[in-house]
Symmetry: none
Subunit: 381 residues, 2 copies
């Protein structure tokens, strides 16, 4: 971070006190061709209310990857995602962030989405440039791709950074709208949303996905609803197939896109043309209810509501097993989950371990489900 630190923050658009930009002078509803830095240079200072950016993640993939069933994973191998070094990626990032900063109004905001491959570099650089992080948001995917080789944790989330122009800068946050959207609870920094698939996923003529990393509209929906007003101008420097434009149009926001690839520009143009502004009542029904958390037996053990080493047994005490540290149980040579061991011992097709296994508390015998209820109570506070 050395060099950057010396730069100090460009004072951003703050210094410009010229006449405010007229919306008529902006290329609203247009997708600018070329790389985003050149494209943004055509825009005046302090002219947009929000920048939403989904830059390349700089994934550094090894060889091919196959699923356990032998099928091939269609990975992101496009040239635009490849950088030879962190240094080059950092320069690329700095360049587009500087332009984004110039183009943003003093009370404008920046959103960037990324994964662990790039988001720590992006985050450090935007802080160096003077952006002020308001929240980091975790998009928790309901249906991520599994880790097929069993080598790491399933990479089940991506991260968004929401920033103002500086520590003292103003910004817009529709607190009430977010709270309403979230069943009258404050909207949290973790958002549970499915990935983009099914009918929403755009296909090319051959039926292949039109873009490798299309984002779900629900994500943009929440971003725009939370941090813009109707009539605001939203700029997306990495427009892709135009999710930002489509949702902006639906929500009555103006938009400007930048996109290098003509194929993506064409798909986006057609897509947005079909989009219609949504009426208010439809907006309200788009949010899904919060889903009941599943509780893993391991989580109950981990949290101490049932200690490793505890003996558990079925109601008739035909079998006695011992709880192990990882939430597996052991009964003689049979080990596994509470469900699997109960099933195998009984020779049954299935078994609900929560009600099958019991333990003793102060002389009482209780199903292990009682420990789950204690866990849920503690977690709910």
């Amino acid at each position: 971070m050395g060099e950057l630190t010396k730069l100090r923050a460009a004072p951003a658009a703050k210094a410009k006190r010229a006449a405010p930009v007229r919306k008529e002078d902006l290329p609203l509803g247009k997708i600018l061709a070329g790389d985003c830095v050149s494209a943004m240079r055509k825009l005046p200072d302090a002219s947009v209310d929000l920048v939403f950016a989904d830059p390349p993640y700089n994934l550094q993939l090894g060889g091919d990857l196959n699923r356990p069933d032998g099928s091939h994973v269609d990975a992101v191998t496009d040239d635009w995602d490849h950088f030879d070094s962190f240094a080059l990626y950092d320069k690329f990032t700095r360049d587009w962030l500087i332009e984004a900063r110039r183009v943003l109004k003093p009370d404008g905001a920046l959103w960037v989405i990324g994964s662990y491959h790039n988001i720590y570099r992006v985050g450090a650089i935007l802080q160096d440039l003077g952006f002020w992080i308001l929240n980091d948001i975790v998009w928790r995917k309901t249906n991520p791709m599994p880790n097929f080789r069993g080598t790491r944790f399933t990479n089940a989330h991506e991260t968004l950074l929401w920033c103002s122009q500086g520590e003292k800068a103003k910004y817009h946050f529709n607190y009430r709208a977010m709270k309403t959207l979230n069943d009258e609870l404050q909207m949290r920094s973790d958002w549970v949303l499915p990935i983009c698939s099914g009918g929403e996923r755009l296909k090319d003529d051959t039926g292949h996905k039109a873009h490798p990393t299309q984002k779900p509209e629900s994500l943009l929906y929440r971003v725009l609803l939370a941090t813009t007003e109707a009539g605001d101008v939203v700029l997306d420097p990495f427009f892709g197939t135009g999710t930002t434009g489509a949702v902006a149009k639906r929500l009555g926001r103006d938009w400007i896109g930048c996109e290098r690839e003509s194929a993506y520009r064409e798909v986006a143009t057609k897509r947005i043309a079909k989009e219609l502004p949504l009426d208010e009542s439809a907006l309200k029904t788009m949010q899904s209810r919060k889903n009941q958390p599943r509780v893993a037996f391991g989580a109950v053990v981990e949290s101490g509501f049932l200690k490793p080493g505890t003996q558990v047994f079925d109601k008739k005490r035909r079998w006695i097993a011992k709880v192990r540290a990882d939430g597996s149980i052991e009964c003689g040579k049979v080990t596994g989950s509470i469900h699997g061991v109960g099933k195998d011992l009984q020779g049954a097709p299935s078994c609900n371990g929560w009600t099958f296994w019991h333990y003793e508390v102060d002389g009482d015998v209780k199903p292990v489900d009682a420990a789950r209820q204690l866990y849920l109570l503690a977690v709910e506070d």
Copy 2:
């Protein structure tokens, strides 16, 4: 990031080919006083299996920042100077990460926990030093503090980074134990755990919380269970009230702490003294089949668990092959190992013959893996 990028990874402890460090020469179960950089300097190269670090987050919170030598940095909270404090924080971060890297074994791993105030700086710096991010983990708090002023999203998570020593470095991951802990589904990168409160939260004599940022034991439990083995040495450079030590002791891991504040050291010492290790059988976890001894198909045939001449077939009976005396199989003109024949017949990139091929026993159809399990049971006794 300029300067750092040029540094590139110190080759870490890899270069050291000296005699492996003996555990007797390490200050196991001790809390080293002083700042963590000086304390870590007393430890030999390549001597610990895991570093878990919960460094100070205090960037924008009023200048409560300390240099590695323990001296206090004067508060610099005006926005003119906040880059100076970023630079100081970066230097502090780099210093302790470099020592952590030296002390870690080549196949050791690093965990760091942080919030959006510091984690982007930490992440970029550790990448610059050559650490390789394996996952970023989101600790999703079930009971976070609300945002009282309604100005932002409720900050409901913290981030952990899990890193190996480098892109090609080895590391340990107890995949099966994690899958078991999560009810037979892969453990994801988002962990839902309550914050530390209630009886677990340590209090001082006045009933005030003993430490402002005490982490829940469940968090450390999962970290240590996932990425260490019993007997491993865990180092925590920011020991605080010793959550890492307490959980390490419980799980049969050795630990070393560093802590500047004597008050925290005292609380931690008492706390850990009370902790009891789990007995060995409770510590057993589900093992990956990768760790099981390799069994040649020929050995299973040789031992009579699958007789030469037996017909084996895939689940849909598209192909039928015959087992030969040497453990090869024959399907028409295709002959070879169970894996190779399965692969060639399907035209697949690879094939696990143990689960692909089946045989009949008493009218039941079983994968040939069942014969391997019988063989393993017989051999174990």
